[in-house]
């Protein structure tokens, strides 16, 4: 069973690597969105320092959303999704593997370039480790919840806008807990509560997402 999941992850990563452009585009988008903010709010170091974490997180959230609709799209178009539903591998396992592949191919690169954006946004030195840690803990939830959205909209023609409308409100808890946790470290406040809530939310979304997404795909294919 685990072997099958691993097989699907490898396949999806291989596809996204051969496809090439999507990961690069997501990362470029991430950097460009963050770069917009100094133009919008002015280059004062103090203001940038204050909003740095929030801006980086919002940008990460938007970037990870960018690649969501391709999660099931090509599999739907070439008929692979039908075969996944028909295969002895449980559909829940298939979608879970796809979520993990999505996280590896689109969120992990974001985490790697996040420190660079920290420099651009004048993030205080104490903020780098918390930024990375909260991203590692929080971004999987983006892939899980986003994956539910992607599975709900995969068979629709105008799915992209609907997808963002559906999942952005659901991203709010991740944003709240992650930014609170990272800011608490910078300000020297107690941090454990936020971290636990963030991890709890991620685990919870990991628990419900495969079922919800599998049900959505079955309903969508009808």
């Amino acid at each position: 069973m685990l072997k099958l999941g691993f097989l699907i992850i490898v396949r999806d990563l291989r596809l996204s690597m051969r496809h090439g452009s999507s990961t690069t585009m997501v990362v470029s988008f991430f950097i460009i969105v963050v770069t917009m903010f100094p133009f919008a709010v002015g280059p004062e170091q103090e203001i940038l320092r204050k909003i740095s974490l929030g801006v980086i997180w919002v940008a990460a959230l938007l970037s990870s959303m960018l690649s969501l609709d391709s999660m099931f799209q090509s599999d739907y178009e070439d008929g692979s999704l039908d075969q996944f539903v028909l295969s002895p591998a449980p559909l829940e396992l298939v979608v879970l593997a796809k979520f993990i592949a999505h996280w590896l191919s689109s969120s992990l690169p974001l985490i790697l370039v996040a420190p660079l954006l920290g420099i651009l946004m004048n993030l205080p030195e104490r903020g780098y480790v918390p930024l990375i840690v909260t991203m590692v803990l929080g971004t999987p939830a983006l892939s899980f919840i986003g994956g539910i959205g992607a599975s709900l909209t995969v068979t629709l023609r105008r799915g992209g806008v609907l997808l963002s409308l559906l999942i952005l409100p659901l991203y709010i808890p991740v944003l709240i807990f992650a930014v609170l946790a990272a800011n608490a470290v910078i300000d020297g406040d107690p941090v454990m509560d936020h971290v636990l809530l963030l991890s709890g939310f991620t685990l919870f979304s990991a628990a419900i997402a495969p079922w919800a997404a599998a049900a959505a795909i079955r309903a969508g294919l009808e």
Binding site: L7, D82, Q83, F84, E222
Partner: protein, 228 residues
């Protein structure tokens, strides 16, 4: 107990459009059932219902006295479904594609041998996007061969194939029937299978009348409706 796959009283409504009703079929081992009928007569829908991809409005399909309609576990081990589309990833090579589906469908035979059978062994290491549509369809047929299921559901299997390809397909199907396998195929093209092993099901014999479908959807007779 019966090893015949039997469909009883099947009805299908898709997006409020009645497709077919009162459909019955029988499929003993080693036999093929060819679905004929115009576009939209429900050939694909019937195959999808049997494959569990579409819920039936009504009816059941029995095999050894069990209703296998929508039984994911039974379906996943016994049914091999070939859709209009090939289910192959354009970015991956033919060999990678076949190996992936074989692993997922728990097939442990030799993939290369099957590729030779459908005549695409020379392009096993080519990405699917370089294949012609005929070659891609042959690769999809290789995927069908690399499936342990006894029941083949083929939806327009000849799409993209040239006359040589169609003959190859007919041979593969005859082979499968000889081994006791069963085939449900929706196709317009005469495949030249052994008539003793082939039954034709004309979908137009089972059209769903609007009145009946209306009753099915709203659980009330047609006439009464016009008064509200």
């Amino acid at each position: 107990m019966s090893d015949i796959l039997r469909g009883y009283d099947l009805a299908c409504i898709r997006g409020e459009k009645p497709v077919f009703s009162n459909l019955e079929f029988e499929l003993p081992p080693g036999q093929a059932l060819i679905l004929s009928g115009t576009n939209g007569s429900g050939k694909s829908s019937l195959l999808k219902i049997i494959a569990g991809l579409l819920p039936a409005q009504r009816g059941r399909i029995s095999f050894f006295d069990e209703n296998i309609l929508g039984d994911q576990d039974w379906i996943s081990h016994n049914i091999c479904y070939l859709a209009h589309k090939n289910s192959l990833k354009a970015e991956m090579t033919v060999a990678e594609n076949l190996a992936f589906w074989a692993a997922l469908d728990q097939y442990d035979g030799d993939i290369r041998e099957k590729a030779v059978k459908v005549g695409i062994d020379h392009c096993l290491d080519l990405p699917v996007c370089y294949l012609s549509s005929g070659q891609a369809r042959r690769a999809a047929l290789a995927r069908v061969l690399c499936h342990p299921g006894e029941f083949w559901l083929l939806d327009e299997p000849t799409v993209g194939l040239d006359s040589k390809g169609v003959r190859l397909l007919a041979d593969l199907m005859a082979d499968h029937l000889d081994k006791g396998g069963r085939i449900l195929a929706a196709t317009h093209i005469e495949l030249g299978l052994d008539p003793a092993k082939t039954t034709t099901l004309n979908m137009l014999d089972y059209t769903f009348s609007a009145h009946e479908a209306f009753h099915e959807l709203f659980q009330e007779p047609w006439e009464e409706d016009f008064q509200c």
